[in-house]
């Protein structure tokens, strides 16, 4: 456990060495709040439904890949992976340390959007349930996407390549949970769309949670997929041939 903490500390601090992290956090908050504000002023509803509706897409396409891209790609590019993996620390602990560091950074950025519910509570009396559910879902969703990102980052030396591939992968995962996409897929191969929608698609589970329906299955879905990708990353490192 101590080893995880050592890696965590370095990785977490590493986010603040370069300006990229700050830039992306600001973009993330402005983008999400901005798109939401449009809706908010147009309809004048004191709820965050629209905010959580677009969150999976902005997370998948921009923000999560930007956080996770450096986790392994940077190590590979600098060659520091050679020293990191010859430290007397298990691969599992290194992966967990890196994952939790990126997760912590994500939580900080996400907490930046807490301004919105605060404003809502000042202006009106929004329903607290969906907002808490929404944030809870966002935490789980972030963990899942980050685990995909760290896994993909392990394959590439170039951070930009990691970013694009992660963005594609997470985008796809988000899309197959979007109601219309599985319908189209069902039109091609009957049953596949439905299968993807129920078992793979992220958005569906996220929507369930953010509606305030905290279904154990959805929680299990997020946690088990996060665990799966982290395990894959560990296995990849242990069986490395580079």
């Amino acid at each position: 456990m101590n080893d995880v903490l050592i890696i965590f500390k370095r990785e977490f601090n590493a986010y603040f060495y370069s300006p990229i992290a700050y830039v992306f956090s600001v973009i993330f908050i402005i983008l999400n709040a901005g798109i939401y504000m449009f809706h908010f002023f147009f309809y004048g509803n004191a709820d965050m439904r629209e905010f959580f509706a677009i969150l999976p897409i902005t997370l998948a396409l921009i923000f999560i890949p930007a956080i996770s891209m450096r986790l392994w790609s940077e190590e590979k590019k600098l060659g520091t992976i050679e020293l990191l993996l010859t430290l007397p620390i298990q691969s599992t602990h290194i992966v967990l340390g890196k994952f939790f560091a990126s997760f912590a950074f994500y939580l900080i950025a996400l907490s930046g959007t807490l301004v919105i519910p605060i404003v809502l509570f000042i202006l009106g009396s929004p329903d607290l349930g969906p907002i808490i559910g929404g944030y809870f879902g966002a935490v789980l969703l972030g963990a899942f996407f980050l685990s995909v990102g760290i896994f993909i980052s392990g394959f590439f030396n170039d951070q930009i390549v990691s970013l694009i591939i992660t963005s594609l992968a997470c985008g796809l995962l988000a899309l197959v949970g979007w109601q219309y996409v599985p319908m189209v897929i069902d039109g091609w191969i009957s049953g596949l769309g439905d299968f993807l929608y129920s078992y793979v698609g992220v958005t569906r589970h996220f929507n369930d949670i953010q509606r305030g329906v905290i279904d154990l299955r959805s929680i299990v879905y997020f946690i088990s997929f996060t665990g799966l990708f982290l395990t894959l990353n560990i296995k990849y490192l242990e069986g490395r041939k580079f």
Partner: protein, 325 residues
């Protein structure tokens, strides 16, 4: 301390290491020599557990590299060839991180003080690694390798990119450490090897070509004896007279036509040649200018060893067997 047995490593179809076996005893300094791409770094990466071998067994101390990688890693200090460092980190933070990752705990501060002094990096301790010069980066990376006072040091080209003064500094440091540690230094700078290493292992095309002290290696390839002779006399006459002596294999004439000095390199097999040559010179009344037995230089030794790899493919098997005895 380090033992490799029939280690092979393939990268796809490329064979990086073929049947590499050697043993390094405790307290030895091994010079690991070979041209670029010979497999030095691959062998070192396998010993440090970074890469897994395709086949063969490697032991560091009593631990097997594949079965107890964590114990092996704790024993080894490693300076990779590429000098990998986190450029955004401050030197002090970096050393602190590497130290705690190696579980130094209470010893961390004293060890950090020791390496900062030994590697002479006090002046840059609070600067980001990215802005340091190549020499300092190299020394920070070396400091990292020494931090946990490891029993085994694996240094992959530790002096590349350093100025002569820094090279001497690192060499002296390595020599100092040698009393208590097992050290493996890879390099292609030959003076370095002969100045610090007790034993030299020459590797070429993934195979061990030679293994022994510098003098052993020299004698291993000095099949023929060579004399250098310079006398004042006519070229043709000297050449023909010398050639007529018994036991001469070949005579190379080194002189240009204008000078009256005749310089020869005489390759011979007969041990009595010095006497007969001496007699010849006295008889002909040549003026002797220079007369010496030629020794192979470091570079020649190295070249001959690496060149001969392929030709000696069959011979080596025999060599190995006799070595084992």
């Amino acid at each position: 301390m380090i033992e490799l047995k029939e280690v092979c490593k393939n990268y796809g179809l490329t064979k990086a290491l073929i049947d590499v076996s050697f043993k390094v005893e405790k307290g030895e300094i091994i010079g690991f020599v070979g041209p670029n791409g010979a497999g030095k770094s691959t062998a070192m990466r396998i010993i440090t557990t970074y890469t897994a071998p395709t086949s063969g067994t490697i032991k560091v101390g009593q631990y097997d590299v594949l079965e107890n990688p964590l114990e092996v890693r704790q024993m080894i200090g490693y300076l990779p060839e590429t000098v990998p460092l986190y450029y955004d980190m401050v030197v002090y933070d970096y050393l602190e991180f590497m130290g705690s990752a190696r579980h130094l705990n209470g010893r961390l501060r004293s060890r950090m003080d020791w390496v900062t002094e030994a590697c002479q990096i006090e002046t840059v301790l609070h600067r980001p690694i990215g802005v340091l010069s190549k020499g300092f980066k190299q020394r920070v990376c070396l400091a990292q390798a020494l931090l946990h006072d490891p029993d085994v040091l694996i240094l992959d080209e530790p002096t590349s990119g350093l100025d002569p003064l820094q090279i001497i500094g690192i060499r002296n440091l390595v020599k100092e450490l040698a009393h208590e540690k097992t050290i493996m230094v890879s390099t292609h700078i030959l003076q370095e090897v002969s100045s610090i290493a007790d034993r030299i292992i020459v590797i070429n095309d993934g195979r061990i070509v030679a293994d022994g002290s510098f003098h052993e290696l020299q004698s291993q390839i000095e099949h023929e004896n060579i004399f250098y002779l310079a006398v004042k006399a006519e070229h043709e006459k000297v050449e023909s007279k010398v050639k007529s002596l018994s036991g001469i294999e070949n005579v190379e004439v080194l002189t240009s036509d204008e000078s009256d000095l005749t310089q020869l390199r005489i390759h011979y097999v007969d041990d009595n040649l010095p006497e007969s040559l001496d007699k010849l010179i006295k008889k002909e009344k040549w003026t002797l200018v220079e007369y010496r037995k030629e020794k192979l230089s470091l570079e020649d030794t190295f070249l001959k060893l690496t060149k001969a790899t392929k030709e000696k493919a069959t011979e080596r098997v025999v060599d190995k067997e006799t070595e084992a005895d």
